[in-house]
């Protein structure tokens, strides 16, 4: 729910040993897709626990935390949403921040719509909601690994989305109930935990000089705006650093 497709080496042609099954042995390839989907789902479950606990720690109800995981269903945006709400930001700032963090899903849809090939509007709407980091990563990896078997890319997309959806939502509920039972979020260091969660989400994206520079500049701009702007606004102002850097660098 949090890392881009390039962070999932599993299933990439370069990382996998040469596999001779090109259609004659359909079962192993399908089983491998299911195994990968399940392991990705279990991994995101741990993020879901953190999300549920942090959401309740910032003042959302258990039902609101669960609604975010069911309806928004894109982890980075969900963390960003509770971050802005926790800082005292208003509805417009929380909505805008969540939407901007989720912008990459629009780009994923371009790729996955060609792999999933939805044939009706209900199908298309369901595929759109299922378009997240993990389903995109699994389906594009399968498309690269088995270009002659598009059904594996489709299977990877839906099986990963289903696995992540189930485990992410169960984990959110458990985390929210746990957070609710634990009590005072500040004495438990939940505010620091939220900061660490954002850093861990950011970490895999800092692999070259440009994103690193953008990250430092955005942090400085955001803190510079804290004394003069209402809560939530400094984060949105810092987004301009990313826009400017993306527009003028190459």
């Amino acid at each position: 729910m949090t890392t881009g497709p390039r962070d999932r080496r599993e299933g990439c042609p370069a990382a996998a040993p040469a596999q001779p099954d090109t259609g004659r042995r359909p079962a192993p390839a399908r089983a491998a897709v299911w195994r990968q989907s399940l392991s990705v789902g279990i991994a995101t479950g741990t993020y879901g626990l953190s999300f549920g606990a942090l959401a309740v720690g910032t003042g959302l109800s258990v039902a609101q935390a669960c609604a975010l995981s069911l309806l928004m269903f894109t982890g980075g945006s969900q963390f960003a949403f509770v971050g802005v709400v926790g800082a005292g930001g208003g509805t417009p700032a929380a909505v805008a921040t969540a939407g901007l963090v989720g912008a990459r899903n629009g780009f994923y849809g371009l790729q996955t719509s060609r792999l999933v090939v939805p044939r009706s509007w209900p199908h298309r709407l369901l595929a759109a909601q299922a378009t997240i980091d993990e389903s995109t990563a699994t389906s594009t990896a399968q498309a690269a690994l088995h270009p002659e078997r598009p059904e594996l890319a489709r299977l990877g997309f839906w099986s990963t989305a289903a696995s992540v959806f189930a485990l992410w939502n169960v984990a959110t509920l458990l985390g929210a109930l746990l957070g609710d039972a634990l009590g005072d979020p500040r004495s438990l260091g939940m505010d620091a935990a939220a900061a660490a969660a954002f850093l861990a989400l950011l970490w895999p994206r800092l692999r070259s000089a440009t994103p690193l520079t953008v990250a430092v500049a955005a942090a400085v701009v955001a803190l510079g705006c804290v004394p003069v702007l209402p809560a939530g606004a400094p984060v949105l102002v810092a987004a301009a650093v990313g826009v400017a850097a993306g527009w003028w660098t190459r």
């Binding site: 949090t2 993020y47 371009l110 260091g189 900061a195 990250a215 990313g242």
Partner: protein, 104 residues
């Protein structure tokens, strides 16, 4: 703020963004510049959230128990600790420093 309004509006916006990839003419989103802006906006937003969540209290920049907690999180990330370990370590450090009265 009304929590439910924000939850539902933000969810609707995120769904609309996802749907965009299925209905937009590909040439709109396929420009390299647009993809680059999207990637770097995510980086900028997450970095700003780290900064604000670590050092902002209402309308002031403060140094409290969250700063050493984040330093420990950086160390854990450098040692390739899993997500949940990073998050729990930061909470434990901040919670301990506050319980011992060493930081606000």
């Amino acid at each position: 703020m009304n929590g439910w309004t924000a939850v539902l509006a933000a969810s609707a916006v995120c769904f609309a963004v996802k749907l965009l990839g299925y209905v937009a003419p590909p040439r709109w989103l396929e420009r390299p510049r647009v993809a680059r802006v999207s990637a770097l906006v995510t980086v900028a937003l997450l970095a700003a959230l780290v900064a604000v969540q670590t050092a902002a209290a209402d309308r002031a920049v403060v140094v409290d128990a969250r700063v050493p907690a984040l330093a420990v999180a950086v160390l854990a990330l450098l040692l390739r600790a899993p997500f949940v370990v990073v998050v729990v370590l930061a909470a434990v450090v901040a919670g301990l420093l506050r319980a011992l009265g060493l930081a606000g």
